[in-house]
Amino acid sequence: MKVGVVIFPGSNCDADCLYVLKDVLGQDAVSLWHQDTALRGCDAIVLPGGFSYGDYLRTGAVARLSPIMGAVRRFASGGGLVLGICNGFQILLESGLLPGAILRNTGLRFICRFVTLRVERTDTPFTNRFKPGQVIRMPIAHNEGRYTAEAKTIRQIQPQVAFRYCGPDGQVGDAFNPNGSVEAIAGLTNAAGNVLGLMPHPERSSEAALGSEDGRLIFESMIESLAHA
């Protein structure tokens, strides 16, 4: 699998994603510059976390206008795999590649800690290595992570929800929802299933040394689905 990790000015998880893809998983991974207009033959694209363009306006609002996003949009509409993590998720929402929007956390504070997630879908190219309903651990690190959408959209996207924040036994409830996301949505795909955005950081939970290897299954699912494509 050849993966392109897009670097926007202000991205700060690009090196972490490249490290997991290259050093942990042994994949071919390259960095793509926000002003590039070509994806250099990549099989999958990762939009990493960080604060693209400082996120001074609205998270991801400026990044969606950068030249590379045109190419990413075309790539996605052709069925290419696009993974957006944290700020990358926010950029996907701003770009219209995923439905809905992100608000500030209900606690009005940045939160960095491990959370537990319930895997809602295992038939996507990003989640095929998980078991249905599996409870996994990944860290979050965001100030704006509260997913929201119109009631109608929420009804429509139910089948697209990939991960929900949950308790240790997979139970969903306010006590386990760190940021106030609607229906505890932590990550979702587009209708076609080839674009995934999520607030938690799989690249920070891909090695035993970091306290969890659950995030690696997302990258491994992508590798597997591309191998069979």
């Binding site: 202000g10 972490d16 960095c112 800690r113």
Partner: protein, 779 residues
């Protein structure tokens, strides 16, 4: 900002001949034909400006003598900031010189560059430094703390190091006080806003609360960077004629502070007041980090320094002085944020996210393009000259022309009067007989672990991104020190900050020793071998002989401990004038120490792990209650003498711990500090939120220094040199045997397990209760 010791160690002028000599030639100083600056201002105005910079009449006369003429306004400003306490260390230098700075591990010693550099082995090195941003944070906590983070990060990547970690040592008034709460929340938000966006994890530090900091909080930030030991960047001017580049954000009038009054009077119709606190832009800094590291990697950058305190003034004069050369710049070429800025404004501005580079002559276009790719401006504003002068032009007009040696080495140095304060005799006397012994010692423990200084700090550190860069292998709050893996190497880097203002208030000499000893103990508790320190010395007004005595004594204590532990001082910062209406703050040294973990076993954390493991205490317990958290929280007394610091015993304890950790014997290790042995035991039970453990220990097994120690002292006293650890029963014997052989008092106290913490015969508390108390203390 300049380093400790910097001016004393500069070799001004010695190497100039190598680079074309000092001889004036048309080529090396293209504007030598220009006249000397012409000062048109009235002497009265100049004196007022001098006064606004706290320059005395005597010092002003010295400036006139150095120049051989009346200075210009710009020159007064330049001298004012360069000779300020902040930049020149004029009160502290005589004492800082006594610090040990050498060691095999030291690659760049204190004062030579923007930060010290220490060898990690296998071609890797770390640059690290701590700095204060106390006063800005007291005025505007969010931006004050944010720009503190930005400033120290720049000191690190200036060295060519990738910033990999931040630690914050914070001191506030009691959090139940509204103002203290406001400052706490603002400072934490500032650190989070900046550090999180810039992508450098905030992995550790320490927080303490005391009334003394209510109106003058302490915000000390430490940054650590990783670099290849062969590619250390230098902050010296080299090569006459080489271009001087200004890089980064534009210059505004922010940060002119007290000096702005004068400049405003000078530029007619200038704007209303500007805040003295600078505004940080972490996005600009993130781009600056990446672009600067790329630029350094080209090999075309000859010298580099960030613009911190006194911005352009400091960076130009210090780089020139380090290289034994001169620098000439034109302020009209400096990118400015607003119209009407005077040369004075431009030279003294402390706008953030700016760097000064000296590059190879033919590299300007390439370097400029490289920065442009990150949307940062890089503008040539001048050249290196061979005449050893800082020459500032505004177009054709020379507005300052000063020998750089006068600015750096020539600053006035003071041996200020010192006098032992009279309060000491009073506060050191602790009539123990009159301190009642509480009956409910379990209740005391619950209160202590809920006291803000001891309580769980996760409400704070969860606001920091402590995981970015994916090297934080021990999460904050899980061990005595932060631990980072070094990707691709079988070693780990450990770091901590420590320093008790209360101990230093009661005895600054012992307090200084204890600060270093505790930092080292924290490092060995994760299994790290201590390497070196950086220090931030927070004191009151140095013109007060009592304060200066505290400073002198504290430096002596720190120096002795560093010598005993072979952990040299590689740099740091002095912050004086930490005063509030009620007087000075408790003298508070903050020691930032780094260490390395080697071997197969990896880092040790502080929480008990498995049922049945043996619990061992190392070190001896004395009847020492002076300055303890127990006395302060339970009895409302800030009294007594601090615990004794036995540096030799500490050193042996450190070596024992490193050996035991490397051997893989340790399941957990936690140092006994605030709250003593009982709190250390309780914390080891409850620190891991996913896996709380009970423990049963027997009080009579605790090794004592005397036949009898009163129970409250035994449980909550803060005798130094003690560590609570746990190990599989299998390793108990070799561990105790080793301790016995090297002469460290050690005893098995009991076992891990059960739903309670039992310290027979005094305490029996459900782990759940303790955990709740600890977790609610600061939320």
């Amino acid at each position: 900002m300049p380093d400790l010791l910097a001016p004393t160690q500069r070799k001004f002028g010695v190497r100039s001949s190598e680079f074309g000599g000092r001889k004036r030639s048309k080529r090396s100083t293209p504007h030598s034909a220009l006249r000397i600056p012409h000062s048109t201002e009235s002497p009265e105005l100049l004196r007022r400006v001098a006064k606004s910079h706290n320059l005395t009449d005597e010092t002003y006369a010295r400036i006139v003598k150095v120049l051989g003429r009346q200075p210009t306004i710009t020159e007064v400003g330049i001298f004012g900031v360069e000779w300020s306490e902040h930049c020149s260390y004029c009160s502290s230098k005589v004492y800082l010189k006594t610090f040990p700075t050498k060691g095999r591990q030291v690659l760049v010693p204190a004062g030579k560059e923007n930060a010290g550099v220490v060898d990690l082995g296998e071609g890797q090195a770390v640059a690290f430094k701590i700095e204060s941003h106390n006063h800005p944070s007291a005025v505007e906590p969010v931006q004050g703390a944010a720009t503190g983070v930005g400033g120290i990060i720049r000191d690190i990547f200036t060295m060519g190091a990738r910033p990999i970690a931040l630690l914050d040592a914070l001191r506030f008034g009691p959090p139940q006080d509204r103002r203290s709460r406001f400052l706490l929340e603002g400072v934490v938000k500032g650190i989070a806003d900046y550090g999180n966006a810039v992508g450098v994890p905030t992995v550790g530090g320490d927080i303490a609360f005391d009334q003394t900091y209510r109106d003058n909080p302490l915000v000390n930030v430490m940054c650590i960077g990783l670099l290849a030991s062969r590619t250390i960047a230098r902050a010296a001017a080299r090569g006459v004629g080489n271009p001087v580049l200004y890089v980064g954000s534009s210059t505004g009038r922010d940060g002119l502070g007290g000096a702005s009054f004068a400049s405003r009077e000078l530029s007619e119709g200038s704007d209303a007041d500007r805040p003295a606190v600078q505004i940080g832009d972490p996005f600009a800094e993130k781009c600056l980090i990446e672009a600067t590291l790329e630029a350094l990697a080209t090999g075309e950058v000859i010298g580099i320094q960030d613009m911190g305190a006194a911005g352009l003034t400091c960076s130009t004069s210090e780089m020139a002085a380090r290289g034994g050369l001169g620098i000439e710049i034109d302020v009209l070429r400096v990118p400015r944020r607003e119209a009407g800025m005077t040369p004075y404004d431009i030279m003294l501005s402390e706008s953030q996210e700016r760097m000064l580079l000296i590059v190879k002559r033919d590299a300007v276009t390439r370097i400029t393009r490289l920065f442009a790719r990150w949307r940062l401006q890089a503008v040539q504003i001048g050249r290196v000259t061979g005449d050893g002068r800082l020459r500032v032009r505004e177009g054709e007009q020379v507005v300052a022309d000063i020998p750089v040696g006068a600015l750096t080495d020539g600053a006035p140095m003071y041996q200020r009067p010192v006098r032992r304060p009279s309060y000491l005799a009073k506060v050191q006397h602790l009539p123990l007989a009159r301190v009642p012994q509480p009956k409910d010692l379990g209740g005391v423990l619950r209160r202590l672990i809920a006291s803000p200084t001891i309580a769980n700090k996760s409400p704070v550190f969860e606001q920091y991104d402590h995981m970015v860069q994916t090297s934080t292998v021990v999460l904050p709050g899980r061990a005595d020190a932060a631990v980072l893996r070094l990707k691709g190497a079988a070693r780990w880097l450990a770091a901590t900050t420590d320093g008790s203002g209360r101990f230093c208030y009661l005895d600054p000499y012992v307090g200084g020793q204890l600060a270093v000893a505790e930092a080292a103990r924290n490092l060995v508790c994760v299994g790290a071998r201590p390497l070196a320190i950086t220090d931030c010395l927070n004191f009151g007004n140095p013109e007060d002989p009592h304060i200066m005595w505290q400073f002198k004594e504290c430096v002596r204590g720190i120096g002795e401990a560093c010598r005993a532990f072979e952990t040299p001082v590689t740099g740091g910062n002095v912050s004086f004038y930490n005063e509030h209406p009620g007087g000075a703050i408790n003298p508070t040294p903050v020691i930032g120490m780094i260490g390395v973990i080697e071997g197969e076993s990896g880092p040790v954390t502080a929480s008990f792990k498995d049922e049945g493991d043996a619990i061992v205490v190392l070190g001896q317990t004395r009847e020492e209650l002076g300055g303890s958290e127990y006395l302060a929280v339970i009895h409302g007394r800030k009294q007594g003498v601090p615990p004794r610091a036995d540096l030799r015993a500490e050193r042996v304890l450190q070596q024992l711990m490193v050996q035991a950790a490397r051997a893989g014997w340790l399941k957990s290790a936690h140092d006994c500090s605030e709250g003593g042995l009982a709190v250390a035991l309780a914390e080891s039970c409850i620190m891991d939120p996913d896996r709380a453990r009970g423990a049963a220990v027997i009080g009579s097994r605790i090794p004592l220094a005397a036949a009898r120690v009163r129970p409250d002292a035994l449980l909550f006293g803060e005798s130094a040199g003690r560590i609570v650890l746990s190990c599989a029963r299998f390793y108990l014997e070799p561990l105790l045997e080793l301790a016995n052989r090297v002469g460290v008092p050690a005893a098995e106290l009991g076992r891990v397990g059960g739903p309670r913490l039992t310290i027979t015969p005094w305490i029996e508390e459900p782990v759940e209760t303790l955990s709740e108390a600890w977790r609610s203390g600061l939320s």
